[in-house]
Amino acid sequence: MKKLSTTYFLLFTLIIGNDLNAQGNQIQIGSLAPEIALPTPKGDKVMLSSMRGNLVLVDFWATWCAPCVEEQPELKRLYSKYNHANDAGKNLEILGVSLDNKKEAWEKTIKKFNIKWTQVSDLKFWTSPVAKTYDIQALPYNLLVDEKGYIVALNLHGKELESFIDKYLQPK
């Protein structure tokens, strides 16, 4: 009986250990981006995995984060430049994941900037599980996910972001 409990304990430790290990290694270039399944302002649940087949920019932001809001017009410019099927068939999609907690403020800013890409949030501020899963240390934060769901770039902004997208979407 004691032997059996020890075996179960070891098995449990191994599973938990692996799980923690996996979490620690998830957010890096080359890793599969963890699933995001959150509601849009209208309440429809959107999954990151449903956007596969495109280059996806996952933009973590919030209306209370001034630099994040300032970045939205730039993202809008990139979206209108790269959100169309090019010769290689690859396309830029953006998934805006907000760490807001006030729906009204979130919706107001989406409307103000006339943001056309998908926006999701559980309206839980920094307590949102997605902030833990993606090990977010500060906002703004983003990552680029390839057509198969793997992370290809982390936290690029401004010219670096545009140049990465441009190069990535070039027909090969």
Partner: protein, 135 residues
């Protein structure tokens, strides 16, 4: 020399409204909350969400209506009561909420006004450390 003078002047003009001794370490507050029977400070959120266990919610200090609400909340408090405010949205240098709220505490004459020292944000400096949070 002129450049040095200019830098010094600039540093003086951007002086924060709080002193180093008015910055409360997060561990100190967490220990106070976790110790039953210990006299508790009045903890007030002046950011987007009242994350810290037992804290009252005023809302972002950048909005004048919230500063008024803070004044109203403190109207009947003893001026010697320890009052700890916190935001935690962003690093101090980028936070639009802490300065108006702290200035208000000073203006109201609270002798034990504290700003919770959250250098990065409430996730990294509080939640990730396992400190007590509101359900």
């Amino acid at each position: 020399m002129l450049i040095l003078f200019s830098i010094t002047t600039q540093a003086q003009t951007t002086k924060e409204p709080w002193t180093d001794s008015q910055l409360m370490p997060t561990k100190e507050l967490a220990d106070q909350i976790n110790t039953a029977g210990k006299s508790q400070p009045l903890i007030i959120n002046i950011g987007p969400q009242a994350v810290i266990k037992g804290s009252a919610d005023v809302g972002p200090g950048k909005e004048k209506t919230n500063i008024k609400a803070l004044e109203k909340m403190l109207a009947k408090q003893d001026k010697n009561k320890e009052v700890v405010i916190y935001c935690g949205c962003c690093p101090f240098e980028k936070c639009p909420n802490i300065r108006p709220a702290f200035n208000q505490l000073k203006e109201l004459g609270f002798t034990h006004a504290k700003l919770l020292n959250i250098p990065q944000n409430i996730k990294v400096d509080w939640i990730d450390k396992g400190y007590p949070v509101n359900d």
